[in-house]
Symmetry: C3
Subunit: 409 residues, 3 copies
């Protein structure tokens, strides 16, 4: 009982920290976009966390953790609508005394909402509010919990071959790249913001309106990752939780420093947004194997994560893909890197593991792209396109959709 | 000993989270008011938390928890000035091993300061700084701890009839509506801001100057409520604490969504401030019975809480009552709703319980209105009115009271 | 095992809270300086936390806690590069079951980065970015861990005389005044900002550009101090941790109120920045003896700490020493006060203790000033002076060093 109490306290704290990441995302996204779309961004972020929790309670949790209620064995199951610990529920045995049913739901629910928030950043400044709400809703109803069930729900990924299962400690793939794929599909539907790429194809930076808020967002996200990764131990095991906090922080630090150095070498100035996205790239990168990596591994995984983000931002620019906050570079590219890194560094490194990681990254990617494309077509059909008019975009979404401004005198 | 340690860790965390709510209130209030009064708002918030803790240490704690030191049985008692766990103090038996004397004091002290902060928001932009300081001081010295003693101090509310006691889990009435009544009385003394209502009586919105800060405030308050409600379990009991976090979050989410939908239906735009106040309405609403409600009950209590706030804001406008941040709609109206809801939904629902809830809401309300009116007259007498001159109000309080501006280049 | 788990949970939370202080410092410093240097400030803060953790992992931790690996007995030792709990590592006995090796490292690493952040604030708006990075790097490589080793690493301070050891509970001297001395030396190298002192020697205030962020920083720092002081108990001992949170909060509250009252008496207005720095002065002051002081002692130590800060700010102005955020007044002056206060108030008060406190404050001060002066000369030599050109300073560092602005439309 004492141990359950201590474990559960830790898991509740981690739940709170992952909730707090929503302020991190809100700050990051608000600060990196234009003043005239700020109310819109705040609204989307409130929608994601509120709708996300309710949808996850209504069905997402039981779709992601179907238990014995399989529909297509290992690929789809559903334990029924609503929340119910069941008549046999015993908190002492639930999750081996690591936490209670209710902690489990809330911790996982905060994760679910995170995936949708990633989309919010990438589609900012040009999506119709209604279209975003529907897209995010369908993502959380179907895509996120189904992919999650393949691994964390005990599905096919978790025992991918006879000998080797997929490994994704806290969700480089299951959370971050799912959100990243959904974001990528959405921005292809939307196209780039007006003026983002010149007629010669050259990118024009559209500077963020409030970098202190973005910086605060990054520090809050780092803190939130203590819960995201630290809570993914699923108990308060002293050695493992504290070790995971160390690898997480080392990777974040290295990712940031590598990103600013790489960017300074390439672009000849000290770009604080690269520093920030590098920290996030290190965090996303370490997430798949935070419990497997040595300190040196963490430095490499985080550092390469930071470099991946800098490269991915340049790559996105070349492809004329417009992601105002760098969400796809951070969550999709560094998410893929971190997942593959489990096969390259750390306790499970090996050719077979690498191939399983690669295969599951691929399967998850194909499923996300296909299902999000379908969701994109549905959303477009219902709303007559996902994008606001050029006039509305230039005027700013705050006036058009909300009839108010974020800043006044 | 191990269990005390784990319980006490949880209670200290909750104490920290309730402290953190003061940043939430500071952000919320700063962002929803005008630039020219921002320093004043920051100052008031620092005053409330610092003075609040010291006053509570000096006497508030022992007035709220008089123990055997009754003066008027069940209505007033005082265990003496200052803090002293006593010679018989044994941390293993104090609060049944749920936490220590010191944790108890600090957790309750953070609550006390919260009640005064509610006033700060409602009276913003026109109150004399000295008048506010005196009003808040007298509120915390007399009103808050005395009302609190009636229930949490083991007074008359806690055993209201022979069979049925008042129920207010974490303070929908004892904290939120006490602050709300005090705010209501204060704004009646003050009157509406210049220009807030036209000569035809129609309300003119005075837009807030920094909505990202307000949005951050709401998310911080939601997180803080994990401590406010989660800590009101008064131990780290795994099932109860985690369940309370779930009902709290579900009510917050539902309150927000209902409020924005109701407001969008009524006013034809997506008002992010309604979304925000709806979340807060859901949180205040669930606070009285967060441990009693089923998931469905939480959805109803929180959702109605959100709707109550939208309605109350319109009602206040009709009455020409000017509350810049919606504090009275959120804390008083949703606080009353949440307290009554204990008689309608959840484990204690029933006619007798409802009548007890109603009676105690009424008694607390009458006491607050009468005592705050007396405090208002005293304050007005000392300061020659509570309100700054029209010229000073138009110029802004930052220059007049503080000789400085919140923003420079 | 259960107790280790609960202890370790508390220590991990405290680690997170001390990490969160970096957002507090970032907000405080950004808000109190000019708009045109904001990106620069954000960059410096990201550099300090990322570099700080990596340097501390690479060697700082083992320089500060050398164990048996002495070089100069009691004054210098080094347990080797990198992190390694060793083959005999047993988490149940490490730190008497208070926490694990990894928690220990991360908690101490967050402290180390804090010391460098203090410098960042004082040197803002005129230091070359490269020079700051080198200065902070050398500070964290050599100065901070060596001074720390004298007390927390079991060196000479800890057994200063046969009967009396130096006492510095959570680092009024070892963290705050070390950072403060380093900041003082750096601003003497740099000189005051252009226009800070008139040709008649009179100080001109250069107002901060965003006081709500600064206010948020102060509240976040206060919360962070729950971890800074609460974690310095080095276990979750219920009585001691909760008592320390109470003395810490009481001192913060008193420091703030005394500072604003003193400043209002002297300058005839309600200066919110004095309120804020007074809170910080109370916090720094109580840090050396948070576990030793009675409630009354805490009120005196915190209150005097607040007054010391107001006086020190005036003193710095008189000396034409320019510290944009008041970091030296808070961390050095209140740090010295708090350390000496251990000999005046609380459980250890006495003449011998006072003299030991004074001697160690002096030795630490001399060492910091000498070593930071050497670091300053090295840095100046490498970068051709630590200060940017007058033109660059007037233009602002954001454009010059970073090619970007913190705020756009």
């Amino acid at each position: 009982m004492e141990l359950l109490t201590a474990n559960n306290v830790w898991m509740m704290i981690c739940t709170g920290l992952v909730f707090f990441m929503h302020l991190g995302f809100t700050f990051l996204e608000s600060g990196m976009t234009q003043k005239k779309n700020t109310v819109n961004i705040l609204f989307k972020n409130f929608f994601v966390i509120t709708m996300g929790l309710l949808v996850y309670a209504a069905g997402g949790f039981n779709l992601m953790y179907p238990g014995d209620f399989g529909i297509i064995d290992g690929w789809l199951g559903f334990a029924g609508a609503g929340l119910d610990p069941g008549v046999d529920y015993d908190q002492l045995t639930y999750a081996d005394g690591g936490y209670t049913y209710w902690t489990d739901f809330l911790f996982q629910g905060m994760f679910a909402a995170t995936a949708a928030t990633i989309v919010s950043g990438a589609v900012a400044e040009r999506i119709k509010l209604g279209a975003f709400m529907l897209y995010a809703f369908l993502l959380l109803v179907f895509v996120y919990p189904i992919v999650g069930s393949w691994q964390w729900g005990g599905g096919k990924f978790s025992t991918f071959t006879e000998d080797v299962g997929f490994y994704d400690f806290a969700g480089s793939t299951l959370v971050h790249s799912v959100g990243g794929w959904a974001a990528l599909v959405a921005i292809i539907f939307l196209g780039a913001r007006v003026g983002r790429f010149g007629s010669d194809g050259k990118p024009n930076a559209i500077p963020g309106h409030n970098l202190p808020l973005s910086a605060a967002g990054v520090l809050i996200l780092w803190l939130g990752w203590f819960g995201f990764n630290g809570g993914s131990v699923l108990s308060a095991d002293p050695a493992l939780t504290s070790y995971v906090l160390v690898t997480t922080s080392i990777a974040a630090a290295t990712g940031g420093i590598v990103a600013f150095v790489v960017a300074a070498s390439a672009y000849k100035n000290y770009d604080v947004t690269m520093f920030m996205n590098g920290i996030l790239g290190g965090l996303v990168g370490i997430t798949a194997g935070a419990d497997l990596m040595s300190i040196w591994d963490s430095i490499l995984v985080g550092g390469i994560g930071g470099a991946v983000v800098v490269g991915a931002i340049a790559f996105m620019d070349k492809q004329k893909l417009d992601d105002p906050v760098g969400a796809i570079a951070v969550h999709l590219f560094a998410g893929i890197w971190g997942t593959l890194a489990v096969g390259v560094f750390g306790d499970l490194a090996g050719f077979d593991q690498f191939m399983v990681q690669l295969a599951c990254v691929g399967i998850a990617g194909v499923f996300c792209v296909v299902s999000c494309t379908i969701i994109g077509f549905i959303t477009s059909a219902i709303f007559g396109g996902m994008r606001v008019t050029k006039e509305d975009e230039i005027a700013g979404l705050d006036g058009v959709e909300h009839g108010m401004a974020a800043y006044a005198d």
